[in-house]
């Protein structure tokens, strides 16, 4: 029962309290670059969720089963980025072959994801979070839950952000505020709102 509650806490905190975009500042380039249209924000959000969850499993397995036994932890950054870019390429090819419809909607975002700092960031955070007191299976479960909910938090925030920005685009604002400045101020208001979740647990 305790472990169920702790998993739920991790999920909730990854999704809302420690939101990857608004409090950890990861994935901001794509957040401001793509988050101005509802459709593209949704596509990017789903693609990122998929890639982060998949690459988290791959990099964590690589770390536990290869890097740690051979004492190569210092190679984690370089090996993770290679695994991620290879994985993104692979996912792109698979989707292109088996699901052309999905490729049409997600394909353009996939190459951009390699350099999305959220993907490498979550891979590195997973290493920091891994707790040697827990069993390997439990660590693995926590890692998957954390990665999935962190990336869902990204998808959720970028989608809401895109909805707000579509409305702001119609508003009469000062010429100097148009574009990135108003997007930053919008993100500020959203970050303040998300701060409200702090202390719920």
């Amino acid at each position: 029962m305790d472990s169920v509650i702790s998993i739920l806490t991790i999920a909730f905190s990854a999704f809302l309290i420690q939101n990857i975009v608004l409090t950890q500042f990861l994935g901001l380039c794509s957040f401001f670059g793509v988050g101005n249209k509802e459709d593209s924000a949704l596509g990017m959000g789903l693609a990122v969720t998929f890639v982060i969850t998949l690459s988290a499993v791959a990099t964590y397995a690589l770390y536990i089963f290869v890097l740690v036994p051979f004492k190569l932890e210092f190679l984690s950054t370089i090996s993770f980025i290679l695994v991620i870019s290879g994985l993104v390429q692979f996912v792109e090819m698979v989707i292109k072959k088996y699901s052309p419809g999905l490729y049409q909607s997600l394909g353009v975002y996939l190459p951009l994801i390699t350099t999305n700092c959220a993907v490498l960031g979550v891979a590195l955070l997973n290493i920091d979070k891994s707790n040697s007191e827990l069993s390997l299976g439990m660590n693995f479960l926590i890692m998957i839950v954390f990665s999935f909910f962190t990336s869902s938090g990204y998808a959720f925030v970028i989608y809401v952000f895109a909805l707000i920005r579509e409305q702001i685009a119609k508003a009469p604002i000062h010429a100097g505020l148009k574009g990135v400045p108003i997007a930053l101020i919008t993100a500020f208001v959203m970050a303040m709102a998300f701060n409200g979740f702090v202390g719920m647990f």
């Binding site: 984690s76 370089i78 701060n195």
Partner: protein, 245 residues
């Protein structure tokens, strides 16, 4: 020398990575809660960017175009790893405070962007200085943000050892995570307005110059017409004179 100065101006002011191109936003917002972190991050990026640009420029002719991005990423990740080990050994406190944002320099858009758009097509020395100038632009952006956030949010700047406000009265929102967006938004708004005003002024000067040129041309035309009228005068007055006569 003049070319170098022009390159420096372009990298630091005209194409400033932070305020003009909005690249590398993650560390820009995450590590500017105080000036020390901001300068540490900015200097690391200057060094990494100069080295990776030079290295990528060295290998640009032997790397096949199809696999250039993985090769660039590998080079960048190696340089960042080596830098990280050096920092951990000699500046452990700063390295600790940068946390996961130090390894994330690998995926900083500025580094891959400069590699792809400059180092892949230019010589080693030029690429090195391009890296230095873009890095300095990034350092400037981070320092401005770090300085203003720390000054307003805590009332003092630790690194420069001065205080303008008692810490209890400072609006701490600026050093919290949400304040990063606010401060950056306000500075970007200011920069944008200055840019727009400059463009408007230039446009006004241009239209004024155009109007002046038009007026001058019209005056000249009128003068010529006058002259031609004047020269035509005798002929046209002739018949009148004749009539009168």
């Amino acid at each position: 020398m003049n070319k170098l100065a022009a390159d420096m101006y372009r990298g630091i002011i005209k194409d400033n990575p932070t305020f003009v191109l909005f690249l590398g936003l993650c560390p820009t917002l995450a590590l500017t809660n105080n000036l020390t972190n901001a300068v540490g991050m900015g200097l690391s990026v200057v060094v990494v960017l100069a080295i990776t640009n030079a290295l990528i420029s060295m290998v640009r002719k032997i790397v096949p175009a199809d696999i250039r991005i993985p090769v660039y990423i590998t080079i960048i990740a190696s340089v960042v790893t080596v830098m990280g080990m050096l920092m951990e050994a000699y500046m452990p406190a700063l390295f600790e405070s940068m946390g996961i944002y130090f390894p994330l320099i690998v995926v900083n858009c500025i580094i891959l962007g400069r590699a792809e758009s400059f180092a892949a097509e230019n010589g080693v020395v030029d690429s090195f200085f391009d890296g230095v100038s873009s890095g300095l632009g990034f350092l400037l952006g981070l320092s401005v943000l770090g300085f203003s956030r720390e000054l307003i949010g805590t009332g003092a700047v630790d690194m420069l050892k001065f205080r303008i406000l008692d810490a209890n009265h400072a609006p701490t929102i600026f050093v919290e995570s949400s304040g990063a967006f606010l401060m950056f938004g306000l500075i970007a708004w200011m920069m944008n307005t200055i840019k727009l005003n400059k463009e408007k002024k230039e446009k006004e000067i241009a239209t004024a110059a155009k109007a002046a040129a038009k007026a001058a041309a019209e005056a000249k035309k009128a003068e010529e017409e006058k002259l031609s009228i004047a020269s035509a005068q005798p002929e046209s007055t002739q018949p009148e004179g004749d009539l009168r006569g």
